[in-house]
Amino acid sequence: MSFETHFHETADALTALTQSGEVTTLGYNAERSDFVRFNRGLVRSAGTVTQRYARVHLIRGSRHADMTVTLAGNGEDRALLAATLDELRAVVEGAPEDPFLLYATEVTHTRTVQTAQLPSPEHIVEAVARAAGDTDLVGFYAAGPIVRGFANSLGQRNWHEVESFNLGWSLYHHADKAIQTSYAGDVWRDEEFEARMALAKSQHAALARPPRTVNPGRYRAWLTPAALQELTTMLAWGGFSGRARATRQSPLLRMQTGDASMSPLVTLREHLPGGIAPGFQADGFVRPDTVDLVVKGALGDALVSPRTAKEFSLAPNGASSSESPEALDMAAGTLARDEGLAQLGTGIWVGNLWYLNFSDRAACRVTGMTRFGTFWVEDGAIVAPLSVMRFDDSMFRLLGDRLEGLTAERDFLPSSATWRERAVDSARLPSALVSELTLTL
């Protein structure tokens, strides 16, 4: 049975079980994923995960509760749904009234389906092993359909299905010196994969040079889209959240209070048509295509979930409960990417950043490490790989007066995250040139 058929059968069954005076909603998250993990060009683990999760939400007046259950995808699911509803009825009976309950009552149907042409798992194993050759390759392949569904007893149905693959790999030269590359999409082409591997191998050769260790201090730096994504991810730790702003916990608090701003070059928006996230959220609200988060350096709108809207008297805009972007889009600049080394001149080419966290959240000061593909550059030429360095700097400076420019070219970066389920969030980002990045250790 297809996921979509199963979803509709589950929604119909739940609606049929719903009693007078009740509203039920169904959130349906499922995937069938092939996972292959490589180390030193060999297979470390390989398998398939098939999972179907249903979040059943029972609402009676202003009392409500939810329960997430695993569905088997067979004839036992109806009995499980009935038992789940019975359990929720007992919980809701004793639950307190909720002044902040808000759910979609306007019925809006949506359906998006994106299919893919995926190779067999055996083909992937052979293609990766063959392309790796005698290099030290470590990587991870994830592929298959991911689905998100919403239904309620008012008759609403929303369906979002994305089939894709995502192969990320690192070519290690020695110790922690490596180049990381990815190939993701919906149609696997051997020639495209081989071209990306060839490019990675050409960059890999530069790792053979003795690494350069620099002293703590401030350095001119070029941030690739992957490195910049680590920084924008930190902004998303509450920076765009309506709840975090209302409770003064946003890392962009100083922009709220008028004590800080970003460069006029910085425009950030949540832009669903540019990503692969669903256009609806768990309470059934359909989301606008675009929410302007930072406009030419000034704080824009927040992502406001229904609950936050009710609690803090804000206008909801279909955000999920996490109130973080799922399709972040940063406006392009005017720098040419292929002139990046020349624009940098002398400084650090940052291929990736790693393990970021706030050293002072209220000041939006962030620390983290350099990682893959990071080089010391002199006069526009790569001199040596850089020994890993810690940075500790304010985002208001990095994306403020120290931001010299952004590239006209942007990369689409689909998330490779697989925490509990494969992610459907993404970002579209340029490279950035900053006049100073503060290294501390």
């Binding site: 179907r52 409500h64 916990q249 002072d360 490490m369």
Partner: protein, 477 residues
């Protein structure tokens, strides 16, 4: 073990040299009172299985929530296909991996304790109400998550393991704001209180009455000066020590990292195989154990997810590195001894090397003695920020709460206390280890690594400790 799934497992057919069925059935309920408003209860029941097959020297797995005979046989066939398809390119010949055939059971203390929802709500309401002590308190919450789980393992070699758990995770925070300054204080961090057992977990940490305490301390931080900058002693309380142990001992000692499995994601390790037996990881005072036997600790169990019997082992003794954190497969690949730590975070992920319970053994110094021993330094409590390089060496950690120590006395409260260092040298600066009465049994439900990614429960017990000549600093004033 007499379980209804036994006969179902025995009816499955597979031509592999080994196969297993691992079933997880976990229930959870979360309750919360935030800003004095009870949040809607949230429940879950997560049930499914992974089958693992060794065939032709390769290995494969398939995970499914369809626990019917047809569903499991289909998964077994798919796992067999993976094993055969990858056999010629496998990192090891699985025919040489001696899979255990353990038989036994485990139960958490209070595994069958009832969940009293109404009583929990009353308790959480009281702590929430107690936290709103000032207009500057802008956010506050009292919450609890209770989980019960049954883990089953059946193997073709006759292994039959049943382990039943009950986990309790209470949490409290208060956030204070004035202008552009915001400070949050928690009770032992974000889900730092996490143990196996029942309501007694609350008593161990003074949860009742702590709503007021965290709010008082958040207000104190709001008016406090920034932590000073300089090189000085630090006295780390257990709710920061567990993070220090986790990041700069636990992860670098994971044998799969040392073997390179994690290099595309979680990272590698500065520790290499040749260091075991001789490398001085810390001062003579450093004794670290893998200990799955402390009943209340979060990741206690009798068998890991391969079925390997779990027992206490020293990883570091008197500062010298002895043993890595590696399960059966990693031990075989590295030709090194290890521990029983092959663990999966749920039914839909394969076991990999994890920390479980990783503890720093108590010393003999009282908290008062440790404070008196410091001429100039900072006491730091409760982790709030963590960052470390992919070899687990250069780190920077931040805490919620700091207090200056001047001439052997605790003095001014300071905010945004941070410190940085390098694992390879930091533990050698361990000057004092607190006695058992400074020790706390904590942990985290959020240890992440692996591809596909896994978030697993780990336990950490530690006394308070003093480190010398540490680079300390605060936030932006």
């Amino acid at each position: 073990m007499n379980h209804p799934l036994t006969s179902l497992f025995e009816s499955l057919r597979c031509d592999g040299s080994f196969w297993s069925l691992r079933v997880v059935d976990e229930r959870a309920e979360s309750l919360s009172v935030r800003r004095d408003v009870a949040q809607p209860p949230s429940l879950s029941r997560d049930r499914g299985a992974t089958v693992t097959v060794h065939a032709d020297g390769g290995a494969g797995y398939a995970a499914t929530s369809d626990l019917s005979r047809e569903g499991l046989q289909d998964a077994l066939d798919r796992a067999t296909r993976w094993a055969k398809a990858t056999a010629a390119r496998s990192v090891t010949d699985y025919r040489a991996v001696p899979m255990p055939a353990s038989v036994g059971e485990y139960e958490s203390p209070g595994a069958d304790a009832p969940f009293a929802r109404a009583a929990w709500f009353d308790l959480l309401r009281a702590e929430s109400a107690a936290a709103k002590i000032d207009e500057s308190i802008v956010d506050w919450e009292a919450s609890v998550e209770v989980r019960t789980a049954e883990h089953l393992l059946f193997t073709s070699h006759g292994g039959r393991v049943r382990q039943r758990y009950r986990f309790v995770l209470p949490s409290l925070y208060a956030t204070a704001n004035r202008g552009a300054i915001t400070q949050t204080r928690t009770l032992r961090g974000l889900r730092g209180i996490c143990q196996q057992g029942g309501i007694e977990v609350l008593e161990r940490f003074g949860f009742l009455g702590a709503g007021r305490t965290v709010a008082d301390e958040a207000l104190a931080l709001l008016g406090a000066p920034e932590c000073p900058t300089g090189t000085m002693d630090v006295l780390l309380l257990p709710d920061q020590m567990i993070l220090q142990i986790h990041e700069s001992i636990g992860h670098p000692l994971e044998l799969d990292r040392i073997l390179g499995d994690e290099r595309n994601f979680a990272g590698t390790s500065f520790v290499t195989p040749d260091m075991f037996g001789t490398y001085r990881y810390g001062s003579d005072l450093l004794n670290v154990t893998f200990d799955p036997t402390t009943p209340e600790e979060f990741a206690s169990y009798r068998f890991d997810d391969d079925g390997t019997p779990a027992e206490k082992q020293h990883l570091i003794r008197k500062g010298i590195l002895e043993r890595p954190l590696g399960g059966l497969l990693s031990q075989r690949r590295a030709a090194m001894p290890g521990v029983a730590n092959a663990r999966a975070d749920n039914w839909n992920r394969p076991p990999i090397d994890r920390m479980a319970n990783l503890n720093l053994e108590a010393g003999d110094a009282s908290l008062e003695e440790m404070v008196r021993s410091i001429e100039r330094g900072v006491l730091m409590a409760t982790n709030s920020s963590w960052s470390i390089d992919d070899s687990r060496n250069k780190f920077q950690f931040g805490c919620e709460y700091g207090r200056l120590i001047e001439n052997g006395q605790l003095t001014t409260v300071v905010r945004n206390p941070n410190y940085r260092g390098v694992s390879a040298s930091f533990w050698r600066s361990l000057k004092r280890v607190g006695s058992a009465d400074t020790r706390e049994v904590l942990g985290t439900p959020y240890c992440g690594k692996g591809e596909p990614a896994q978030i697993i429960r780990v336990g950490h017990a530690s006394p308070a400790c003093v480190f010398g000549d540490v680079e300390v600093f605060g936030g932006d004033a």
